[in-house]
Amino acid sequence: MLQQSTSEALTSKPTSTRPRTPLLVHMALAYLAVFVTTAAVAQFIIPYDPAAIDLKARLSPPIGWGGSLAHPFGTDELGRDMLSRLVLSIQMSVSIGLGATGLGAMVGTSLGFIAAHLRGWIEQAILALIDFQATMPFLILALAVLAFIGNSLAVFVCLLALHGWERYARIARSLAISANAQGYASAVRQLGAHPLHVYWRHILPNVAATLIVSMTISFPEIILVESGLSFLGLGVQPPSTSLGAMVGYGRDYLARAPWVLMMPSLVISLMALSVSLIGDWLRDRFDGTLR
């Protein structure tokens, strides 16, 4: 047994590894597709107005626990349809995730380019900010900012955009420095191009692939942070709802109506699990070092 595993550990070419449970990866991809599609078409598929209160059907269980087809995922304490609320929550979480990821990438990349271009003390200041952001747990920073600036959706998205900006900034800075040091970027600058032209037209397209990989890592992380904050009651505020907010709300009915909490929990966990599985699979396929 030991001997056999040895030889496997020693052959470090990815081609020699058997494809690792592609079925799981397929399922993960399918789940993510459903997840994102749901968010995109939410308005058209919800069976009920998610705010419609039906006190006669309070806390009715989902199908399988004695529920009826009228509310396949059950209802909450005010008789609101769980399925509709879940769909809208997914839409909210995905929108926030996309917005914050995009904004964070923009801010981080710009700061990285600025640091690479100006050097000197401005670069040092940006590096100090990067250090600070990387050192402090994001949830703690977010908590501090959020409760004091208020709870509007725009502020919340901007705050979440701060998650991961330092990664883009680091990548953009180091790639821009290496591009500037020699090669195509300095050649174009030498043609008389304005620095903005060089960064926008040459350096950005050349670093985009790396940045996009970073964004796909950030996106699920941001959704998780969003859920955590909303769970604490400090994120998305009623009447809006998000996955984390639903979990937080369902907590009060843990004993009587566990489905109120379980449905959104399941959706979040499966989302994170899918992204992780796909990420691992991609890494095993494309990274020769087999991490």
Partner: protein, 308 residues
Amino acid sequence: MAWFALARFARAMITILVVVGFAFIVLRLSGDPALEILSNDAPPEARDAFRSAFGLDQPIWVQFFDYMTRIAAGNLGNSMREGRNALAVVIERIPITLALSVPAFLINVVIGIPAGILAALHRNSLLDRGVMLGAVAGFTIPTFVLGLLLVLVFSVQLGWLPSGGARSWHHAILPVLTLGAGGAAVLARYTRSAMLEVLGQPYIRTAHVKGVPWRLVVYRHALPNAAIPMVTIIGFMLGQLIAGAVLVESVFAWPGVGRLLVASVVSRDLPVVQCVLFLIAVTMVTSNLLVDLLYGLLDPRIRRGGQA
């Protein structure tokens, strides 16, 4: 090495300065705590008295300078809610949080590291896949979801354990498990990849090909070398001992630092929030600094190459 240590120390101090500045700017610029703490119909004189009592009527830079001086003197102001020294309010919560996070950290290490090593040594076996799937599940399920799940099963359904509070050690079991599972999963993955990295190195193959028994290769060469990158993740986890429990403490109503922070944020108790932030910054920065220095000692390449 002295220079390397000094440079790292300077960076750590700068980070702490940025944290203090950040905390100050965000917390002071964002509203009028006098309106929050006192009721809306409090007379204006009472508000003014409140403001001047906490120095809120001073120009912002004076407030910042005062704050810095007070930090240097170890005085972080009084809690607006409790009227006591904020630092004392925070410090008395630290052991409560550590009562959760230290056992959880032990679980991380005791389960995570062996699981990762075994998975790496038996790469692609059923064991490996089982461990990795468990690890992925463990760290992708958000801690608050996992915590509530445990409550649902062990408190609501089975009735074995309390769902919240901190009256006895029974109350600690579920939060410790919740915290421990996530960390163990992260550590298992990290250990596995560190081991695989080392096992793929030419010197391991050489040792094995030369006829050194595989068991010896693992103990003498692979494990010590894989331990070097492990320093980073373990240092990070130690830094998280206080900061990492915010959500879990909220789920289980555990009266630690995290719960204090959330409560203080909700009630806008500025000195306490700043105090917690500062405390967490110091622990994170210190652990990062120690990791850097330890790394420099363990791996001379870092020391030489990393000082630019």
